[in-house]
């Protein structure tokens, strides 16, 4: 088997506060292969962004990686020294944040920010770095890059700024791009362009992409596989077609049912999941989804479900544990 670009094993992230320790991520495992796009969906606070930040080593105190392992092309990176991890950030892992309006330093020309990043990671002189910066801007679709390189961030529109951010993320040809809600702050028409751009870059360079979003539409457009997160755990993970058309986990089913379709019957109400996701300080025992689940039974309130393979999908739900279902029945 080919080694995955990113391999997360049993990741646990904790945030310590005055009242105790909150567990933001617990027992999350997934792989992303070369050239593959993994979509990560879930509600706010489900742990999507924290997973991405953990992978690039940017969990700040009071948070910390409390357990598990993260491998980048076979190299364990969760326990590297801060400086060794810094060398990986931007070079082998690129990151794109949600808001392009605030991601760029307003006081520096975009060319300076590009050249600075390029020269931090690649052994290039000023001229070569500048040339590479212009090429990168052209690649992400900035018109007249040799002129625009000397512009300041405020002289670009939101969509163009996100392109600059992407250029910054890929300037050292990383193996992995982590995109944290890259289209959320953009106009719908621009969203599609940015999504297409990320997809094209992933394909052209064989880059693995971890795409964090709460927008199922974006996932369906771009991803090869999708992970549905709930309360700091992966509820279901599998090929995007399977998960969208045949979701297994009751939560994933609820999510898919909540997407309006143009072809669907307009008189039919969208499915609504009752209640809301528990706060980190009040995650119920057993399956975190059990208070909202229509199918919950005794075992769901006691024992936490571990991922179970069903075809190409994996689902963390006792309903799919044949032995358990039988004994409950």
């Amino acid at each position: 088997m080919v080694e995955p670009v990113l391999s997360v094993r049993n990741l646990r992230v904790e945030f310590a506060n005055r009242r105790g320790v909150l567990v933001a991520i617990d027992g999350v495992s997934f792989d992303i292969a070369k050239g593959e796009v993994l979509g990560v969906v879930g509600e706010s606070g489900a742990g999507k962004s924290v997973t991405g930040l953990a992978a690039i080593g940017l969990i700040d105190a009071p948070g910390r990686i409390a357990g598990g392992e993260i491998y980048l092309s076979g190299l364990r990176i969760d326990n590297l020294s801060p400086d060794a991890m810094r060398r990986i950030r931007g070079k082998r892992i690129g990151m794109i944040f949600q808001d392009p309006l605030t991601s760029l330093n307003p006081l520096y020309r975009i060319g300076d920010q590009l050249v600075e990043t390029i020269r931090t990671h690649l052994n290039l002189n000023e001229t070569a770095a500048r040339k590479r910066a212009i090429d990168l801007l052209a690649e992400v679709g900035i018109p007249a890059p040799e002129k625009r390189i000397d512009a300041y961030p405020h002289e670009f529109s939101g969509g163009m700024r996100q392109r600059v951010v992407i250029a910054l993320a890929i300037c050292a040809e990383p193996e992995l791009i982590i995109a944290d809600e890259p289209t959320t702050a953009l106009d719908v028409s621009v969203q599609a362009q940015i999504i297409a751009l990320i997809k094209r870059l992933g394909r052209d360079h064989g880059t693995a992409v971890m795409l964090v979003t709460h927008d199922m539409g974006v996932i369906a457009e771009t991803s090869d596989r999708v992970a549905v997160m709930y309360s700091g755990r992966i509820a279901e993970i599998g090929p995007v077609r399977d998960v969208v058309q045949n979701p297994l986990h009751p939560y994933a089913r609820g999510l898919m049912g909540a997407i309006p379709t143009l072809a669907g019957d307009a008189s039919k109400r969208l499915v609504q999941i009752p209640g809301s996701m528990p706060r980190l300080s009040a995650i119920p025992t057993g399956c975190a989804f059990n208070p909202r689940c229509d199918f919950a039974f005794e075992r769901c309130r006691i024992e936490r479900p571990e991922p179970i393979r069903v075809g190409a999908q994996a689902v963390a739900c006792h309903l799919y544990d044949r032995a358990a279902t039988e004994s409950a029945a």
């Binding site: 950030r89 990043t117 910054l168």
Partner: protein, 326 residues
């Protein structure tokens, strides 16, 4: 850009006109100026003659116009107590005050920014906590008390530094400087610290607060995600963004350093404009008071103008809005 500067310069002239009105009014509110100038036994005829020669019989607007035009050429009349032109007195005293204010500001900016950065980056270190506590004292202790304490310690007990005056000065034309002699430099130390301490603690706290704010922004997080070195992030990205608001405050503070110098100059008997002003107040020497008011306002207004221009140099976003507005 040019239009912006011109517009700001025009506004400054407006401010100066308003200050001119106030300073002109001082002459009228403080009683009959002729009474201040003559002896008790001066005859009525002589008084009328002086009155006429000073133009005090002309209509008020005409008097104001004359006063303002003279002031614009730095002619502020004759001091009642010294019987010398006020502009001469000010010119003589100004170098002392400007040197003191500049030294105090450089001291305040240098240490203020350095300590501010340190306490922002090493938020939890012991030294930071000490600095925060000491800076509170620096902000709340009145200037004269610090001055007197310093004099007591370094002049009275230790005898290291002179307790008053400017020491020896070297003349360059009308400018006299204490920066080139040992005694001049020694005399400068305590007044500068006294005058600059408040500003230093203020700048330190401001830099710390600003920098902590900047370090939380998205572009700093993104800079870290790009793998830039900590050094580049702190001193390249964060510091430049921190200094934008600090420029304004520092500029305005330079103005108030000159204004606050009154107290420091009194404590240290520093022969500057502030001391001159205090003596003028004691002797109801209106021409000096009025001229001091104008000069200090002029300094304030000039600094404001410079700060505005500097702002657009540092922050490209302002340059764009300024360009559009013009």
């Amino acid at each position: 850009m040019l239009a912006f500067i011109l517009r700001r310069a025009l506004q400054s002239v407006g401010v100066m006109l308003a200050v001119g009105v106030i300073s002109f009014a001082m002459f009228r509110f403080a009683g009959d100026p002729v009474n201040q100038m003559v002896a008790l036994d001066t005859s009525e005829a002589q008084r009328a003659e002086i009155r006429a020669s000073l133009g005090l019989n002309d209509p008020v607007p005409l008097q104001f116009a004359r006063y303002f035009i003279d002031a614009a050429q730095f002619k502020f009349g004759v001091s009642y107590q010294f019987r010398q032109p006020v502009s001469m007195l000010l010119k003589e005293r100004m170098p002392a005050t400007l040197e003191l204010a500049t030294c105090a500001t450089v001291l305040a900016m240098g240490f203020g920014i350095l300590l501010g950065i340190y306490s922002a980056l090493r938020r939890d270190s012991f030294l930071t906590k000490v600095l925060q506590a000491v800076s509170l004292i620096g902000i709340s202790l009145p200037t004269f008390l610090i001055g007197i304490l310093l004099i007591y310690l370094f002049s009275v007990i230790l005898g290291w530094l002179p307790s008053f005056g400017r020491g020896e000065v070297v003349k360059f034309g009308w400018w006299s400087t204490g920066l080139l002699t040992v005694s001049g430099l020694k005399a400068l130390i305590m007044p500068s610290i006294t005058l600059g301490l408040f500003q230093m603690t203020l700048i330190m706290r401001l830099v710390r607060a600003e920098m902590l704010e900047v370090l939380r922004t998205d572009y700093i997080r993104f800079a870290r995600a790009r793998g830039l070195t900590t050094r580049a992030i702190h001193f390249g990205h964060a510091l430049k963004n921190t200094l934008v608001p600090v420029i304004t405050v520092a500029g305005l503070q330079f103005g108030s350093v000159i204004a606050f110098a009154i107290i420091t100059e009194t404590v240290f008997q520093w022969p500057g404009m502030g001391l001159l002003f205090v003596q003028a107040v004691q002797n109801v020497d209106i021409p000096i008071m009025a001229a001091y008011l104008l000069v200090v306002s002029l300094i304030f207004v000039t600094i404001n103008l410079i700060v505005d221009i500097l702002y657009t140099v540092v922050d490209p976003r302002l340059r764009a809005t300024v360009g559009r507005a013009a």
